[in-house]
Amino acid sequence: MDILFSPQLLAAALITGVLYALISLGLNLIYGTMRLLNVAHGDLVMIGSYIAFMAFSLFNVGPLISMFGAAIICGGLGWLAYRSVFQNLLSNSEILARLEENSLLLFFGISVVVQNLVILFFTADRQGYEYLSAIVEIGDVRLTGARLAVLIVGSVVSIAAVLYLRFSLFGLAINALIQNRDASAIVGINVDRVQMFSLVIGFGITGLAGALISVLEPITPVMGFPYTMSAFVVIILGGLGNLWGGFLAGLLLGFLEIYGVAVTGPEWRSVLVYGIFIGILIFRPQGLLGRGRVAR
């Protein structure tokens, strides 16, 4: 039982939690502002990982640099998706009413296509690279330089994002759109612009998280799926569209998962995560920290 009190485990939980917070913030922004169920969300993590992997193996550029490239490329994909598909769909009130269900199928299709494209180009083999693998010691904590870097960068980016969304005027507009679309339009919010930025930021920070994750685990075309699931667990745990609640829930799920696995064993990870998912849906559908689902 000593292991439960080890600083190692605490660091592991923080790393996982911060990454979950970041990834699910992206999902929550997209769901909250547009009611799009992005079940391809984890594939952005995968794309971010491959970008970091390519940057390292082709140009010898580390993930702390290439994460910006991953953010920009994934953000660009968000922009492209908005301009080519969602802008039109969202501006038609009749399509809008059915978009939530249909978006699930749409993104599912996108996910399959993207994964297969990646298999075509990179094969289905696991990839990986060595980066800052030397052990760093801080007090009692021993962890690789790469993990320490992920912890620091992940914390800084997620805290900055949450503070921006909470205190800036643009963040207020995003939160307004999450609560009520018509009300946002009539107070003068440029709904179109807020939607586009939400998709760009949501995709971008998820791609950035993917670049960080590339140093933690093997890179494969299907690595994204567990992150999709975790992100959905997190935003349901935190209350759909509740950005602050989702951030806290991301940390919480990281802790539940890491400590849960430490007590039971790695083979229980899925049972734990999906068990929490199902439990929340049954007993507290509005989320642990949720304020109930907001009206459109």
């Binding site: 207020l172 609560q179 009300a183 009539i186 907001v294």
Partner: protein, 238 residues
């Protein structure tokens, strides 16, 4: 005829195949209170929703301040000073009173005026100042209505459109809202009011339109409309 602040020409709007507004025309003169009355389902809200850009019109034309805004998105209308206080208030329930007011000043024309706007809101509705840090969703109906009006004013409107501002309010509070509308007119604001209290509305209005089944059936000086026997029978039960 002089140029009206708002000029609506043969406007039609529909939900799917069902037309809720047909070839409706009206004008709102600067500095006036213009009233739009009609029974439930007449199309009043539909009309205001198409004026604010929430419901794209099927036909017709809307000119505001001399410019064609028929197909402009909502935010540009607010930017131009055409602002709606909607039916059902639509305040942001998780935002505090102050955040609700702040978001009301998001348009460029109002943003620099934020601090002054807050002061004006609290002077007009001292209740809101007491509740400034309370979530909007926890306010009473009357307070929510005050908040919705104050939020609309934060945008520095030139024309404020109010949809059923006294619906569901206690008589005393409803009367306070009517008095506030008169007060706003005295400050030079132009108002377009949709109200179910036809009698009281026509008393404070300058000009009025009557809408029935999506079509305009009567227009005139508010006093004349109020004195009209048909109106008295249909809408005032006299």
């Amino acid at each position: 005829m002089s140029q009206a602040l708002l000029q609506v020409t043969d406007l039609s709007a529909a939900y799917g195949q069902v037309f809720a507004l047909r070839d409706f025309s009206c004008r709102v003169e600067e500095g006036n209170i213009t009233a739009l009355v009609g029974s439930n389902g007449a199309g009043k809200t539909t009309f205001l929703r198409s004026l604010s850009g929430l419901l794209p019109p099927r036909q017709g034309r809307v000119d505001f301040d001399g410019g064609d805004i028929t197909h402009q998105p909502s935010d540009q209308r607010v930017e131009a000073g055409l602002v709606m206080v909607p039916e059902g208030r639509l305040i942001f329930p998780t935002f505090t009173v102050e955040q609700n007011l702040k978001i009301g000043a998001i348009s460029k024309r109002a943003r620099d005026d934020l601090a002054e706007g807050l002061e004006r809101s609290y002077a007009l509705f001292p209740k809101l100042e007491q509740r400034r840090h309370q979530p909007g969703g926890t306010l009473s109906g009357g307070e929510q209505q005050m908040l919705a009006v104050a939020r609309g004013l934060m945008a520095r409107p030139r024309l404020l459109m109010l949809d059923e501002p006294t619906l569901g309010l206690a008589p005393l509070i409803a009367e306070a809202i009517f008095e506030m509308m008169v007060q706003l007119k005295e400050t030079g604001l132009t108002l377009l009011i949709v109200e179910q209290d036809v009698n009281r509305t026509l008393q404070i209005a300058d000009y009025a339109y009557v809408l029935e089944n999506g079509a305009g059936v009567m227009a005139g000086e508010a006093q004349d409309i109020l004195a009209d026997p048909k109106v008295r029978e249909s809408y005032l039960g006299i």
